[in-house]
Amino acid sequence: MNKLVRGADDAVADIANGAVLMIGGFGLSGNPENLLQALHKKGVTNLTVISNNAGIESEGIGVLLAAGQIRKMISTYVGENKIFEQRTREGTLETELVPQGTFAERIRAGGAGIPAFFTPAGVGTPIAQGKETRDFDGRPYLLEHWLRADFALIKAYRADRWGNLTYRKTARNFNPIMATAARVTIAEAEEVVEPGGLDPECIVTPGIYVQRLIQGAAYRKPIERRTIRKREPGQ
């Protein structure tokens, strides 16, 4: 068993026009940079992208958006992207906005074989329109359905050859749950080791969820909002 493929181009070779993709990351943090670049280069179009955000103009998913490769976004917040705004006004981009907790839980449900569940988020809001509402213990909840994808593109920190993955700090975000919810999960990692090279207690994504793996390279890791504090004398 060796899930390591040659490179990003090979890894995305069978992603066809019209595919439904989950793409990990929160803003630009934890994006699968190498896979996104390969997807852009491949020129595949008409994609449905399930991702928390839409990147910015020149980074992350924003690059696919700018190239007109995306037909529909399922996201929770898309505020940082002018091209997003432009495509929406043109009518060339469809968007489904989902509360972030519901979005995360729908993805987890997709991976966990739970076709639907009840959540309190969104009751009494425009999100509730057309959805079943039911009371439990006197409180109203909405019925929400799972999300699944053809491919998930995942950014890990370290991986072993069997596809076991760890993440780094808040770059973890949606990556582990998206890994569970696609027919084919493709992961890129900053470092790839042999099985046994990761602490079994600290593996976040078991290899069972990963079908293909690449060794990532040349990570840019852009920062959206660089906030700092001044060093006091003596610190």
Partner: protein
């Protein structure tokens, strides 16, 4: 009062609500100011819904890490005892009622505790992010906002006019004019900013305010 002074006044008042051992989610903007105002001698753990407990202050220059951001996408730091988890686990924590206190801004709040803070019809909709889940899940929701709009219009209404973020979700409203508690009877003014009369606060509010029998001055 200058905007910045109002914001600091509000943030300081919210910070007085913190208790040792609280797990707190602070929204983007004004609520973030609260993180620098934790009273001495208590330990508070900040949650960031992108998957972290134990958010520390902004990093020192040169120590920014693209893999370490808060839900506002700002670079942050770690405190000892912090930990990381995925987004589904993060919202399980929020939805499951484990966050002691969430603080967020609002465009409108009404007498029933309804809150609207995510969309204005006709304007491009950017998305609700985690607001609907926080509003539905936090054990105690504080709205921290300026009392009126920039052109002086009321934000505390009889009934919200904008599409809602959540129903009957708000527990407390903190503005530069006072500290208010949502009760089954309506909005109870418990503290009032120095120098203001009840009538002045009511005049800036569309909702009918209830006057607490123990109405006192809001501590600075």
């Amino acid at each position: 009062m200058k905007d910045q002074d109002k914001r600091m006044l509000i943030a300081r008042r919210v910070a007085r609500e913190l208790r040792d051992g609280y797990y707190v989610n602070l929204g983007i903007g004004l609520p973030t100011l609260v993180s620098n105002l934790v009273p001495p001698g208590i330990e508070v753990v900040l949650q960031s819904e992108n998957g972290m407990l134990g958010v520390g202050p902004y990093p020192y220059e040169g120590e920014e890490d693209a893999d370490l951001i808060n839900a506002g996408k700002e670079t942050v730091s770690e405190i000892p005892g912090c930990c990381y988890f995925n987004s589904a686990d993060s919202f399980a924590m929020i939805r499951g009622g484990h966050i002691d206190m969430a603080v967020m801004g609002a465009m409108e709040v009404d007498e029933r505790g309804n809150i609207a803070n995510w969309m204005v019809p006709g304007k491009l909709i950017k998305g609700m992010g985690g607001a609907m889940d926080l509003v539905a899940g936090a054990r105690c929701l504080y709205v921290a906002m300026e009392h009126t709009t920039h052109d002086g219009g009321p934000k505390i209404l009889k009934q919200c006019r904008l599409p809602l973020t959540g129903l009957a979700a708000v527990n407390f409203i903190v503005t530069e004019m006072g500290f208010m508690r949502l009760t089954p009877q309506g909005i109870l003014l418990e503290e009032i900013a120095p120098g203001l009369s009840f009538e002045q606060v009511q005049a800036a509010t569309e909702a009918t305010l209830l006057r607490s029998p123990h109405l006192r001055e809001m501590p600075a």
